[in-house]
Amino acid sequence: MSIRLDKEWLALDRATVDALPAQLGVFHVADDEGTVLTIGYAGARDLFGIRSALEREIERHGAAATRFRYEFTSNYRSRWDELLMLHLHDHGSLPPHQADQAQRVGRLDPQD
């Protein structure tokens, strides 16, 4: 099982987001180039789960964010940390608005 979030990218628009089940999980939001703009999670405090969390991302990034991919999981917090660590390992830094998370998470040295 891959530890990376390598699901298919979907268009980040209201219609696609509204069609998602209101479940808990993690996601990437990216621009046209595939640059990840947010590594996020939908937790139990999000009223409609991943739908609510992605709607916040649409507001945060506006037209710059065009796609997303997601994974449902009830371990959204530990999986989120794992994705942050993987991004740090692969890119050396986190998306600018999440830079402060780099101090909080640990380091991962995956074998792949």
Partner: protein, 388 residues
Amino acid sequence: MDFRPTDEQQMIIETTRRFVRDEIRPLELDLDPDAGELHPDDADRLQAKTRQMGFYGLDIPEEYGGPGLDTTTRALMAIEMSQHRAGLYNPCYGTFGGAGLAQLYEATDDQKERWLYPTLRGEKRGCFALTEPSGGSDPARAIQTRGYQDGAEWVLNGAKLYISGADKADYALIFARTSDDPGRNGVTAFIVDTDTPGFHVRRVVHTLRATHYATELQFEDLRVPEENILGEVNGGFAIANDRLSRQRIPYAAGCIGPAIQAQEMAIEWAKSRETFGSLLADKQAVQWMIVDNEIDIRHARYCVLEAALKADSGERFRTEAAMAKLVATEAASRVVDRCIQIHGGVGVTKDLPLERWYRELRIRRVGEGPSEVQRLIMARDILGGSFK
């Protein structure tokens, strides 16, 4: 055996209870239901309070600046500190401070300067790397990580599994087999800085604890200076084993807090929820569950306090500690399970802490030696005649 707390213990219990009720529980209303940490500002503020109260660094020995609590008082505090949503694994979110790795109190002066004192000052973190993919319940035989001497260095190769905090640790206490002895006499403990080439955190291991994860480690020609050996060469298992025995009492005590809070919630619910024309509290099926909870909670408390009192009096307490661990983890699991049943649908939602305790308590029956190993320890003592 007198289980009544002394006046001083009663005061500590009440102070801790107020701290949990007034400082911790209100913050949890705004946190993710699976949160394992406070906002840094809240953590700093509450840590300042526990320092002021004289309780910071609960498990640090008095000669190193800790409050010098005996095991019984520490257990009584653990019961209070765990009475909130995150309380089982994150009692008061760590605002009472940690003690670092207890084994380092036995380290050389140089090792203490390099790892223990920076840990006590909050400048370094350590992790304990014992369990391997080959097993955890019988570490003396399961350890396959190998270490061989090469001049003034030792070279480690192998893997560790279910290691907490390794991804954030500055150093690790690694147990490796260093002789051909397949049992407890062939294991050495090494203190290893985690930025040493060959130390890899390979993956995150997700568990029933939704916030916390364990890690899998791999060592590839990890070179460790000879002066990093903790204790004697081939004497590492005694160091590991000492920790396993000592930790059982506070580990058991921490399970009782959530059980008490779950029982309080169930009683309140049963006295207010009506079905079929009467309160749940009026139905015998519910009354019996409440009574069984009370029996479980008291049984667990007595076992924990008996083990703690024996430890404090300098008597052998291995059997009592094993019994406390077994009884408290299993009793608390049953209590929370019944409380979910009494609450019905809302009991399994993330609106209440019951579902979190239910998941996390399941781990407690495996962690720090599963119930079966505790029985094995007790059987050895009872049948071997060393238990009186």
